[in-house]
Symmetry: C4
C-alpha cells in the first residue's frame, strides 16, 4: 500500500492551457437529492463547481431547485423524475455522479437504473451514498463505464459483503477487481483501491466527522475526473485535496463544515497545481 | 450558587479522538418552525451544526425546507406533520430539541405529544420556546428522558407557576426537582439549575437582546449534549459559550445577531477545548 | 435650517443598559413586499434587524417568506392578506413601517387601510414608498399616530401637491404641519422637517443612487424609532447613519449596495453610541 | 485591430455627479431564465446591479423569483410569460438584456418576439445566449434599436453563418455591418466589432472557463450601457473589466467563479474611474 503525498496534486492538477473554453474542462451531471436529503446533492454540486468543472447540471427533486440556485447560480438544474431529460443529460456528460441524497425508494431506483442504462464505456460514473445501497440491496447489474465507488465502511459492507471488521486490503482488492472500478473506502484514513495499486490517504482530521463530508468528496471526485485525464490520479488527488483542506481549517476550527472545504478549492488548487 | 468560568469549557469540550466518524458525535433531531416562526428552527439547526454534532435532521413545516437548505445544506429535513417519520427520527436521535418556533396550535401540540410518546429514558430532550408554553398550558405529562428546559423568565413563570418577581433560587430549584431535569433560566445573567447544584453564567451582554438568541442557545445545547457525555457539563458549557462569543462580538458591535454567534463556534470551541 | 453632525448619534444611540431583554428594544412590524417588489420589504426588514430592534415581524406576500428567511432567519413572517393577523401584529408593535414594495393594487390598499385603522396614537408609524402614493392617490385619511413620512421628491410632490421645483423649506414645512408628522424628504442631501425644526443631512454620496436605498432607510428608521425614545432624534440619527455608512463605503466603491449598508450598522452604531 | 488598454476604463467610467439619483444611472430590464437555466439570469442580474445600474428588473420564470431574491433583494422581478408586463417593463428600460438562460422553446420565443416588437430605436438591446440561437434558428427580423450581440464562437457561427475556423476579422465585420450593431465575439481573447473599428481584449484567463461567465458579461454590458452614454465605450469597458477582474482573482485561484467577479465590481470600478 502506497501512502499518498502532495506529489499527487502536482501530477494531476495541470496548468490550464491559455486557449481553452468551458468545454475543455468537462461536463458533470449530478443525480441525487430527494425531498429529505436535498442538501447532499447541493454540496456535491457546489464541490464540483468550485473544483473547476466546466459545466455542471444537477438532476434532483424540484423542491431543491431554489435552494441550490440560492447558493450557486453557476449550476443548471433538472428534475430527476423526468427520465427523458435524465437520459439526455447523462449522455452529454463527461462524468456522472449518482447517489448523494438520492434515497432508496422507487423513484430513486428508477433514476439509478436510467443512469445505468444510459452511460457508455467511455464515461466516468461515480457511485455514491444511496446508489451504493441500492446496488447492494437490489443486486443491480453494474453498467460498463469507468466506475468509481465512494462507500463509507457500512456501505462497503453492503456492497462487498465484507463485514467492517474484515475490511482488509486483500479482501477489499478482490471485490474491487470483480467490480472492475476504483473503490474509495472512506474512513478516518481513507484507502483507495485501483487496478494499479492500493493507496492510503494520510490527510484527514476528526474535525471532518460531520454530515455532508462524503457528499462533498463525491462532488470533488466528479469535478476532478471531468477535468483531469488520468482517471486514477484524478480520484487520488480529489481524496487528498478534500482532507488536506480540512487539515488546514482544523488548525483553527473544532469542526470543519463541508461547505467550508469547497470554498477553499480554487485557492488550494492554485497553490498545488503542476509547476510550469 | 457557583459562578461558571472558562474551566467549564476545558472540562467539557474534549479533544476529538483521531479514530472517529460522524456517528461518534451524535445525532440531533430538531422539531419546530411553523410557517410564521420558521427562522427559529433554522437558527437552532445552524447552531447545532456549527457546534459540531455529527448528524442533524430538522422536522419543520415544509415551507421552511428551502430557506433552511439555502443557508445550510449540511442538515437533513422532514415534515413535522408526518407523525410516522417524526417517530422514526426521534428514535434515532441522541438529543431531541423541541420547541423553537413550533407554535401552539393543534399541529404543534400533536408534534410535541409525538415527541413525548417516543423518547426513551436514555435520550436527551431539550424543551424550548413554544414547547414550554404548551406543556404549561395543556398540563402535559413530561416523558421519562434526560430533560433540559430552556425557558426565559415569562416561560418559566408559565411552567413553574412562580411569578417573575419571585424567581429566586430556592423556589426555582424546588420546581426543577419536581420536573426532574435541568433548567436553564435565561435572563441577562442566566442561571442553570441542576440536580448537582445551581450555576450563574457570568457572560452575556445587552447586545444579545434580540429575537432568535434563545433559539440559537437551544440549538447549541442540542449540539453540545449530543457530543459531550456529561449532560450537566454539556449544558453549562453551551450556555457559557453562547454568551462568551456574544461578549467578544459586542466589543465592536452595538447589536449581536444570533447567526453571527454560531459562525464563531468552530473557532471558539477550538480555542477552548481540553488541553492535550 | 440646521445641519446635522455626528453629535446626533451620540445624543441618540444610548449605551444599552445591562439589565435588559429583547422587549426593551421594541417591536417592529413591517408591512410591504408584493410579488414583484418583495426585495424592498426584505431590505427594510434586514435594516431593522441590523439596527438592533428587539423583535421584527414582516407582513408580506407569502412568495417572499422563503427568500426573506434565506437571508435573515432572525425575522418572523406573516401574510399581509390575512387582515386579522395584520391587526394583531400591528397592535403589538412599537413601530410600524408600511410601504416598501407594497404596491398600489386593491390588496395593497386593503393592507394599508387595515394598518391605518389599527394603529393608536402612542404608536410610531413610518409611511414609505407605495404607501405614500396610495395616501395621495386615494386621498386616505391619516390615522392618529406618531407619523413619519419618508418620500423621495416625486412621492412628496404626490403627497404634498408641491411640484419638485418648488419644494422649498417654507412650503414643505407648511404641509408637514398639516400632516402633523415628521417628513424625511430624500434627495442627494436629504432634508428632515419636524415640529421642532428643519434639518439638513450633510452626508450622502452619488454611489448610493441605486434601487433599494430608500427601503433600507425606512427599515432603519423603523429600527431606530423602536429603540430610542426621542422620536425626532431617532429619525435624524437614522438618516445621518444611513448616508454616513454609505460615505465610508464609497471611499473604496463606485456603487454602494443597500445590503452592504445594513451589515455595517452594528459596527457603526457601536463606534458612535453615547459616551459613558 | 486595436488592443484595448486600461485607458478605456478612464474614458468610460465617469465620476458620478453629486446631484444625481437612481434614475440618472439607467434602468436595466433583463429577460431570461427558464426553469432549467435560471442561474444564468440571476448572474446577469447580479452583474448589472453590482456594476451600478440605477434600477434593475428581471423578467424570468416565476420559479426563479425566490432564489434571485435570496441572493439579491436589490432587483425587482416579474414573470416573462406575462406579455403585457414584459412590454411595460421593456418600454421603461434604458437597456434591455435578453437571452441568458432564456431557452429555446415556444415560451422563450414568445418572450423574445415581444421584446423585439417593443423596443424602440433609442433603446439599447443586448442579445445574448439562447436569444442569439433563436434569432438564427427562426430567422427572426431584428428590431431597430441600438443592438449589441454577445455570442460565443458557436453562437456566432449560427448567427453569422461563418464556421468557427473562418471567423476572421474581415468576415466577422462584414456580417456585423449587416446586423447593424456591436458584436462581442467571446473567446479566450474576445474581439469586439463596432462601426468605428475592431478591438482585441487583452485580458482574460483560462480560470474563467466555467459556466455562467458569459451570462455575467451580458449583465455587465447591461449595467455599463445603462449608465455610460457612449455605447461603444460602455461595451468595450465592460468586456475589459470582466476579464481584468478575473485576471486579478486568477493570481490566487485555479478557477474563478462568475459570482466572484461581480462582487469585485464596486471596488474595481472605483479604482479605474475617470480621474478628477
Amino acid at each position: 500500500m502506497e501512502t499518498l503525498t502532495e506529489q499527487i496534486l502536482r501530477d494531476t492538477i495541470r496548468i490550464r492551457p491559455d486557449k481553452s473554453h468551458k468545454g475543455t474542462y468537462g461536463r458533470v451531471c449530478l443525480v441525487g437529492g430527494n425531498a429529505q436529503f436535498g442538501g447532499a446533492i447541493m454540496m456535491a454540486t457546489e464541490a464540483a463547481v468550485y473544483s473547476g468543472a466546466g459545466l455542471n447540471t444537477t438532476l434532483t427533486d424540484p423542491v431543491n431547485f431554489v435552494s441550490l440556485h440560492s447558493r450557486l447560480p453557476e449550476a443548471m438544474v433538472a428534475d430527476f423524475h423526468d427520465t427523458e431529460q435524465l437520459e439526455q443529460l447523462v449522455k452529454a456528460a463527461t462524468t456522472v455522479v449518482v447517489g448523494p441524497g438520492l434515497g432508496t425508494d422507487a423513484d430513486s431506483l428508477t433514476a439509478l437504473e436510467t443512469v445505468f442504462k444510459t452511460v457508455t464505456p467511455a464515461q466516468i460514473l461515480i457511485i455514491d451514498g444511496s446508489a451504493i445501497t441500492l446496488v447492494a440491496d437490489k443486486s443491480l447489474t453494474l453498467p460498463k463505464a469507468r466506475l468509481v465507488f465512494t462507500p463509507h465502511e457500512m456501505e462497503w459492507q453492503r456492497l462487498s459483503g465484507i463485514p467492517i471488521s474484515n475490511q482488509h486490503n486483500d479482501e477489499n482488492e478482490k471485490v474491487r477487481a470483480e467490480l472492475n472500478g476504483i473503490v474509495v473506502l472512506k474512513s478516518h484514513h481513507t484507502r483507495i483501491y485501483t487496478a494499479k495499486g492500493t493507496y492510503l490517504n494520510p490527510t484527514g482530521t476528526p474535525a471532518q466527522a460531520t454530515g455532508g463530508m462524503g457528499d462533498t468528496l463525491a462532488g470533488m471526485v466528479g469535478g476532478f475526473t471531468a477535468q483531469f485525464t488520468d482517471l486514477e490520479n484524478a480520484v487520488l488527488a480529489a481524496v487528498y485535496t478534500h482532507s488536506a483542506i480540512a487539515d488546514e481549517l482544523a488548525e483553527s476550527q473544532y469542526v470543519v463544515l463541508p461547505t467550508q472545504i469547497m470554498h477553499q478549492l480554487p485557492r488550494f488548487m492554485h497553490e498545488h497545481q503542476a509547476l510550469k
